[in-house]
Symmetry: C2
Subunit: 269 residues, 2 copies
């Protein structure tokens, strides 16, 4: 039996998706069919949404799960009556927070992922432009602006981590590849000398790296297990010699690498 | 009075941050000092975390808010006794979900933002590589692989939206600039002809676009209000003529643009 899951919001629906998906990872062996319904900000849209949910409930023969972060009162009142298990993420906590903080909540909708915090938003876009322009060591202009410089052999996760840190956290991050001459001579790329405090290294497992590189250039020397093992061994030695903190990214997601780097380098704004 | 807010998890802490931050946007005029403590996956780490929270509670003279998504039982048991308002995002909902779904939850930690879903994860990385290689029309190779092609005059938000869709949703997206000759002659870039079904247009307000362009090239013709107004007017006419759906991104965040595009083009996987 397939269960429908709805993420409903008068904003983007990102918060409802994030918490809902986290909770659903705790249930294995079930099949969920997920649908996000953003921008449900009027009673009319809420009524159409309820009709849709009720239609699905009737044809599935099982209650859909409905995770909602809808703030708009009129829309919420309508949504609450749908024939799904209605989980209202705001209702649950807002009262205990009001009590704890001693103030009323504003009930202002769409603030979490909108432009409400203009300064933070601009920083994210600037950080992303910076990351794009400097990716993979392609520019050393304004390198001193970088709060973080990731270094690693090719395909250990530098670029996605850099972009994630910029887009999600507004961190001015960039990355530099470690080339064979750097690894051989056990020295940091010239442009990075004197910037040790901003460096963070990535390494991987030879098997994993070889697999990733083979998808890109099948059968190449670049992708061979021997070459990958050599580069990783040399990189780790280089990190240790230069007191560059590093992490093995072989079994980590971008989010996990980013969380690790931010914690180690105290980078949260 | 400043309130400390802790986001605690045995994973990355992303879910705790997302819901916690969403809730806090509902309280204006208060000052929050936010700290994320990820990877609290053992009783020892939990004890150190509690000590830290209790220390802050004592010196602030106000209970910190603690949003937790810690699954690990042993760590949670320790955390629950901290001297903060402890908001356990899993405890709140997991029981009603178990009841509704008729199965026990697995209590497997760190699944939400880890590598548990390998296929989805690989898709995100491939989509990101694709977005990087094709950004701003720099390559027309494999253009047929794109599920979405954003078009717009320069600086309307194409690149950040494309990268966000790739990184967060694994959508193969790319973007093409509309150059002056395209706008003048009111025709789509040649490489995009026959791909109308994948196109989505962005427009903006002349004042907003001029402001953004002026940050990049102050005082240039490119950034002038007249030039921006001309390009946007022509772009909107081009979209209409070619039946390309579009949205005005002037007051929208990347997340809001992305949610809108995904909904309009039915792009969710």
């Amino acid at each position: 039996m397939q269960r429908h899951v709805f993420f409903v919001s008068d904003g983007t629906g990102i918060t409802a998706e994030t918490l809902g998906n986290s909770l659903l990872t705790q249930f294995e062996g079930l099949e969920f069919r997920k649908l996000t319904l953003p921008f449900v900000a009027t009673p009319e849209k809420a009524r159409a949404t309820v009709e849709y949910i009720n239609h699905i409930a009737a044809s599935d023969g099982a209650r859909p799960l409905v995770f909602s972060t809808t703030i708009n009162e009129a829309a919420r009142t309508v949504l609450r009556d749908c024939k799904g298990l209605f989980i209202d993420l705001f209702d649950t906590y807002i009262h205990s927070l009001e009590q704890e903080l001693g103030v009323q909540s504003t009930h202002a909708q769409g603030r979490a992922h909108g432009m409400a915090d203009g300064g933070r938003y601009t920083a994210r876009i600037e950080a992303m432009n910076y990351a794009m322009e400097h990716d993979d060591g392609q520019s050393t202009r304004d390198l001193s602006k970088a709060e973080l410089i990731l270094i690693a052999p090719s395909r250990c996760g530098k670029t996605p981590t850099t972009l994630y840190l910029a887009l999600q956290h507004g961190i001015f991050a960039t990355n530099f590849p470690l080339l064979e001459e750097d690894l051989e001579q056990q020295r940091l790329p010239k442009a990075l000398q004197g910037m040790q405090d901003r460096l963070f290294g990535l390494t991987s497992d030879p098997e994993r790296l070889s697999q990733v590189r083979n998808e890109r250039r099948p059968g190449s020397r670049y992708a061979s297990l021997a070459q990958c093992a050599y580069e990783l061994r040399q990189a780790e030695q280089l990190y240790r010699r230069n007191h560059v903190p590093f992490v093995n990214s072989a079994n980590m997601s971008i989010e996990e690498i980013a969380a690790t780097v931010m914690q180690e380098k105290a980078l949260r704004h």
